[in-house]
Amino acid sequence: MPNLIDFVKISDFEWELPVSFSTSMSVPVRIFATEKILEAALVDQSIQQAINAASLPGVEGHVAVMPDMHQGYGFPIGGVAATSYPNGVISPGGIGYDINCGVRLLASRIDVEEAAGELSNLAYALNHYCPTGLGVSGGIKLSLEDLKQVCETGSNWALKKGYATQQDLRRTEEEGNIKGADFKKLSERAKQRGLPQLGTLGSGNHFIEVDYVDEIFDQDAAEVMGLSQGKLVVMIHCGSRGLGHQVCSDAVQSLQSAVKKYGIHLEDRELVCAPINSPEGKEYLAAMRAAANFAFCNRQVLAHLARKAFKSVFLKKTKGYELSQVYDIAHNIGKIETHQIDGQLKKVCVHRKGATRAFGPNEIGIPSEFAKIGQPVLIPGSMGTSSWVMVGTPRSMAVSFGSSCHGAGRVMSRSKAKKTFSGSQLRTELSQKGIQIQAGSLAGLVEEAPAAYKDVDEVIEAVVGAGITKKVARLKPLVVVKG
């Protein structure tokens, strides 16, 4: 395990563990963090997991690790690794079980003061309209043909059904439809799990939150995004549900024999992988893209349901309750992108696991209205704390494969959180801050206690200090709906 002295300090917010640290490493590990965050990360296995990722066949440049890093399985959460395309490998464990877990932000024109008396009703309405909770089904009823369309065309399916607008799609990563998805590559189990779950939130750290824009740091960018000081916004955090979990489980299992076939040595079996251009690699890529499309469409349907909830509460009370999409972004995904690496433009497969794409201005793949400001980066904080709207920068393209952090990052295990905090006390504390909570279980609420996470504002200072994202607006929570 490395110590602080093993890192080369590049700046107050950037550290490098050179390849000389371990014979297994093919590339360095680059950490974007303050010294305090880096030191804290040395107590769990996050850095070791990044070192393991730095040994993957065909890994390019360096493995980037964000300040919200924490120990995961295989890859660290907050890790970004780019592998050579098409001869490098793709690793399902480097993307995660919740394929295309991500965040969507919707903006209203309702002023926080106007909404003050309706927050309790709003919490109830969101909980009523949006199916939440453990193993929950109750989503939109799908036929097998519908599911195929969802997986192969993503949010386009929702547009055809009247659950989306053109702007929603334009302001979604990949326009909500990653090409190359193949429904035939999904197992029967993945289909079975996906059929009842479109338009459901799930449990764990997934949530729907109503916030207000507390402070704006970049007026021009906020204006382009449709954000105004004091107005209500809605943040949706969820992923591909059981369908995505099954796709990853199937791939991690089936690739166990592929690593033997291709003579790949692994530091951790959870890093199991296959060459991207091998039959096994292509099969996983097509299935992973299908799961990613399911997730885009899932958040789209939830956005549609959130719009219904807003309308039910505010129709007769105020104008401006329509929710317009700011952006929708994945933070667990594998994407084929072109990046400048070691002075050369290279096509790579970027694995982002708990890391958000953060493309700078004028990059291909971002909506035209954001060309000048850069791609919106949505960073939820822990429950009851600030969330942030940021934009990608030219520097993120240069040093982090166009990526930034995805949240606050856990520091305390779920079991310890349950032992340390009381559900009813937490509910009272949030209520005293004026935050309305609708939660499936008190135990689930306690697992997400703010003190179980890093301070999101410190994480934000680190990515801003490193220059890989810029602040646009800070959001403060009013309503939290959790499974």
């Binding site: 769990d44 996050s46 924490h70 120990q71 995961g72 399985y73 295989g74 959460i77 464990g93 995660g96 079980y97 919740d98 453990l134 193993g135 189990r189 079975q192 799990r193 799930g202 449990s203 764990g204 059981g242 979990h245 099954q246 990853c248 489980s249 991690v252 299992q253 166990q256 024999s257 033997k260 951790d268 079996r269 959870e270 199991v272 856990r410 520091v411 305390m412 295990s413 779920r414 079991s415 310890k416 279980s441 135990a443």
Partner: protein, 139 residues
Amino acid sequence: MINPENNCFEEIQHTADWAIRVCASSPEALFECCASGMYSLLKVKKSNESPEIQKKIHLQGVDLESLLVSFLSDLLFFYETERVVFNWMRLRIQNNELDGELRGFFIESIQEEIKAVTYHQMEIKQNAKGLSVTVVFDV
């Protein structure tokens, strides 16, 4: 609940996910203890109206670890899609193949959720007392 060897599993700390360490005298007992540990994390509660559910499974793996991941993943699938858990098992493991006869019940409701069984740091180790393994679950 199944618990063929008392105190055969313990929960261990993991920053973001759940993990258990399991010790048992044989592969079959180890697998049952892992199932027992996983069900314990899931806090399963029997439905009052449940008839006995029976199921037979046959699984193949490239080694004992992959067989264990397959086995626990099967149990998770039945838990999520059929809301069934098993409290009686007869397992036979030979040459990286598992034949299992399972009996169980419907649960009242899902109390906790596990997304997947991971291979992270998984290695079934033989020691003087038998076998041990650590299983990390993505939650």
